[in-house]
């Protein structure tokens, strides 16, 4: 070891900076982790937690800064390099091979073999031992991983981490997919690990958990360290929340129409107008509980909730992309065919999904073609496209949204996140949709572009569109929406006009479920 520095932390990261096109994900982050401690990372979505753990896992290379392991400078150039040091990462989206057995998954890439042949009996008994150590002797090492429930898969993932000589284990929201008693088991495992001198970096949104397992807490906010090494048990909730939210960059939200005189008239006139979209007892088993919802023209409804609270599932069900297990969706009082996106689009519903790249954009295609894809019949007679009109009309929409650069032929993959989002919005503008479902519209969008998007969304609502906005950034929901629904674990726990809520209250509702004013 390093005798000259006997108290050197196991891991020290200093001045870590990582920039992606358009976003500075990490801006001079410092962190140290001691052997045998549980170091919690706290922060809102987009605060930089994921990027930081990817740097630690060797999956991302920092632009600046250095990493020391037991006092020695190291470079984690590949995930393999990190693993060799004894750093294991359990990602939120588990990286298991579904069709392969538990044993094979545990020793994937690290097979127990003799001269190239797998020693399956050895592997099997070692897998069983690891599963016992993790408190799950009931998991059959021969079963395929796909047959296990989420909690079981997570155990397999942990067993894989422990199959190496692990010194530090990173867990990214390990409790997100777990039931309460499974969470208790998780805590037992964490305690067992720390007793063996293993360090744990634990990421969670849930303060109560951090209280229970954590030793020290570091808070990340907008890519910087807002607080370093706070005691997990004695720091007050209020302080954590303030550190997570007290942002320096104040977003400029457009004014709500009710605050200006002429618009008030409009809203008053609009008030008796029937809702354009109604959900009646809409539910999907295992995803979200029966939901009643009305979306009115000109109104922005906000849905506040964490990842996994069922918010994306609600939007996708409203848009016909998922078939509800109960209830129905009505547009203008007419029920929509369940599970049919084409019918929903025809009825005037547009969805800007959470994963822009995989769910919304045709990455190989130009701006024009991405915008026009939902409105092709508009430019065609008998299937024959009028490309001049297509170009002119799509351009009018993208210009209206101040798309930059203003080049209709540019491949959409070369645009920044904010401008890609504008392309998606322009698509639904062109389709003249009346209900716009926005799932994390500002994710991966830098601060300047956000304000612009907010203005666009407000303007859309003012023009008579009913907007449903999902965001895990509470200030965004509060600043933009007229009415807010707070969602926790698939259930609406609170509904109120946005002006009657504040960030702390919403965060409390979202995280702990118990109102603590």
């Amino acid at each position: 070891m390093a005798p000259e520095v006997p108290q050197a932390p196991l891991l020290t990261m200093s001045r870590i900076t990582k920039t992606f096109p358009g976003v500075r994900a990490l801006d001079g982050v410092d962190m140290d982790v001691n052997a045998g401690e549980v170091h919690c990372l706290l922060g809102q979505n987009g605060a930089g937690k994921s990027t930081l753990i990817k740097v630690l896992a060797g999956a991302h290379q920092p632009d600046e800064g250095d990493i020391r392991w037991q006092g020695e400078p190291v470079r984690l150039t590949t995930p393999m390099a990190a693993m060799r040091l004894g750093i294991a990462t359990i990602y939120q989206e588990l990286d298991l091979v579904e069709h392969v057995s538990v044993t094979e998954n545990i020793f994937l890439g690290n097979e127990i073999s003799a001269r190239g042949f797998i020693r399956s009996r050895d592997a099997r008994s070692r897998a069983a031992a690891l599963l016992r150590r993790l408190g799950h002797p009931e998991i059959d090492p021969d079963i395929t991983v796909g047959a296990l429930p989420a909690a079981g898969q997570q155990i397999v993932s942990m067993a894989r981490a422990l199959s190496h000589d692990v010194r530090l284990i990173v867990m990214d929201e390990p409790s997100a997919a777990l039931d309460p008693d499974e969470v208790a088991n998780l805590f037992r495992i964490v305690a067992g690990l720390t007793e063996d001198g293993v360090a744990v970096v634990y990421i969670s949104h849930r303060l109560e958990e951090i209280r229970r397992v954590g030793d020290r807490v570091s808070v990340l906010k907008d890519g910087r360290v807002a607080a370093r090494g706070l005691p997990a048990r004695t720091t007050e909730t209020r302080e954590f929340v303030a550190l997570m939210t007290g942002r320096e960059v104040q977003y400029a939200f457009p004014e709500r129409p009710v605050t200006t005189e002429p618009l008030t008239d409009r809203v008053l006139r609009a008030a008796p107008r029937p809702p354009v979209l109604c959900a009646e007892g809409l539910a999907r088993e295992g995803e979200f509980a029966p939901l009643d919802l009305e979306l009115h023209p000109g109104q922005i409804t906000g849905l506040a909730g964490l990842v996994g609270s069922g918010r994306s599932e609600i939007l996708e069900t409203l848009a016909g992309a998922r078939r509800p297990t109960a209830g129905r969706v009505l547009v203008d009082g007419k029920p929509l065919r369940p599970g049919d996106v084409t019918a929903a689009v025809r009825a005037g519903i547009g969805l800007a999904p959470e994963e822009r790249k995989s769910q919304a954009l045709l990455m190989l295609e130009s701006v024009t073609r991405n915008v026009s894809v939902s409105a092709l019949p508009r430019f065609s007679t008998g299937g024959w496209l009028d490309r001049t009109r297509e170009r002119a009309e799509t351009r009018a929409r993208t210009r209206g949204l101040a798309l930059h650069p203003d080049d209709p032929d540019r491949p959409v993959r070369t645009l920044s996140g904010g401008n890609q989002q504008k392309v998606v919005l322009a698509r639904w503008l062109l389709r003249e949709c009346r209900v716009l479902l926005l799932d994390e519209p500002t994710r991966g969008v830098d601060v300047g572009a956000r304000a612009e998007l907010y203005t666009v969304i407000r303007r859309l609502a003012d023009s008579g569109v009913a907007v449903l906005l999902v965001s895990s950034e509470v200030p965004e929901v509060l600043g933009l929406a007229d009415r807010v629904l707070v969602l926790r674990e698939g259930r609406v726990v609170h509904t109120a006009p946005a002006r009657e809520l504040d960030e702390h209250r919403v965060l409390d509702l979202v995280m702990e479920g118990s109102p603590s004013c």
Partner: protein, 337 residues
């Protein structure tokens, strides 16, 4: 209704006057590749002109190359659509065989030219329908569904023909193959190929069908969430491929004056190879008819050259393989730039 945003554009005319289009990033799609393929074709012609001057550059030989390209060319157009749409069709060769056999049975030939043509097209469409329904609504993986069709269509062709060559006796069909029917010296088969290619080019680039094909192949989930009827689109694509096979089968009947269950052997591989070297992404979402046509011409010309120079088919096969590898490497290189 949504004019507020549109109106903004009028108030705020482009701040940056005519930003220079960034070439290299937004270069005309496929342009460079087409040029290089055309270059390869020219090089092949030069090689032919030098090695076999008195045989290669004759009207008859060029006509032969074009005629040989026609049948596989029509099949390739259909396959190109399927691949751009994110699928694959391994059954084209077998469908051609089945259609050619079915359309030349004694019973069918009784109905004359119209009967033969209609039968070939219907069999093609029917097989395409089965493929499409299995893949779009099954839903089955295209590779498996069309592999099953490959096996069964060939089997059915053998069953119908009993392994015998069925000679065409309908004079009006045979007439289409002889030089009297040539239009300005061009065989009708070549004209059919040209027509199919031009139609395919128009449909891909200028119609909602073409645009949706590209969208579905590029990102099926995004297309679905954008409101495109993805399954219907897939069904239509396999119908189109089946129709092309029907046309090709009829062309083959005219060309050979017969129908055989061994027709269309390995057409699936030739068509996929031609589409790939023509720049069609096997993963879907990108490709051109022009590229595929050039790909077909390159392959046929090579075959012709090799035959003229008395090189065995084994050498031809090796050369084909090398070309495919080279084309894909070039494609990869350009993508990572």
């Amino acid at each position: 209704m949504l004019s507020p945003t549109g109106a903004e554009a009028v108030k705020e005319p482009a701040k940056e006057p005519a930003s220079p289009p960034r070439r290299g990033i937004s270069a005309p799609r496929g342009g460079l590749r087409h040029l290089s393929l055309a270059g390869v074709l020219v090089a092949l012609v030069i090689v032919g002109a030098f090695t076999k001057p008195e045989q290669f550059l004759t009207g008859d030989n060029l006509q032969l190359i074009l005629t040989q390209s026609s049948v596989i060319g029509v099949v390739t157009v259909g396959v190109t659509f399927v691949i751009i749409g994110g699928g694959i069709d391994l059954s084209v060769g077998a469908i051609v065989a089945l259609a050619s056999v079915w359309a030349t049975t004694v019973a069918t030939q009784e109905f004359g030219l119209g009967g033969v043509l209609l039968c070939a097209l219907s069999v093609g469409l029917g097989c395409g329908l089965v493929n499409g329904v299995l893949i779009a609504y099954g839903p089955m993986v295209p590779f498996i569904a069309t592999l099953a069709m490959l096996a069964s269509a060939r089997g059915l062709a053998l069953l119908i023909s009993d392994g015998k060559t069925q000679v065409v006796t309908v004079q009006s069909v045979l007439d289409l193959g002889v030089s009297d029917s040539y239009v300005l010296g061009v065989p009708p088969l070549v004209l059919v190929f040209a027509a199919v290619a031009v139609l395919g080019w128009l449909v891909l680039g200028r119609t909602t069908f073409g645009r949706r094909t590209v969208a579905v192949g590029g990102n099926a989930e995004a297309s679905r969430l954008a409101g495109i009827a993805v399954r219907r689109q897939r069904l239509l694509l396999y119908l189109l491929s089946g129709l092309c096979c029907g046309i090709a089968a009829f062309m083959l009947i005219v060309l050979t004056g017969s129908g055989q269950n061994t027709n269309g052997n390995l057409y699936e591989l030739d068509a996929i190879a031609a589409a790939i070297i023509g720049g069609t992404l096997l993963s879907g979402g990108r490709g051109t008819i022009t590229g595929s046509v050039l790909g077909v011409l390159v392959f046929t010309t090579i075959t012709n050259l090799f035959a003229l120079n008395n090189l065995q088919t084994d050498v031809q096969q090796i050369a084909k393989g090398a070309i495919i590898v080279a084309a894909v490497l070039v494609q990869k290189g350009r993508k990572t730039q």
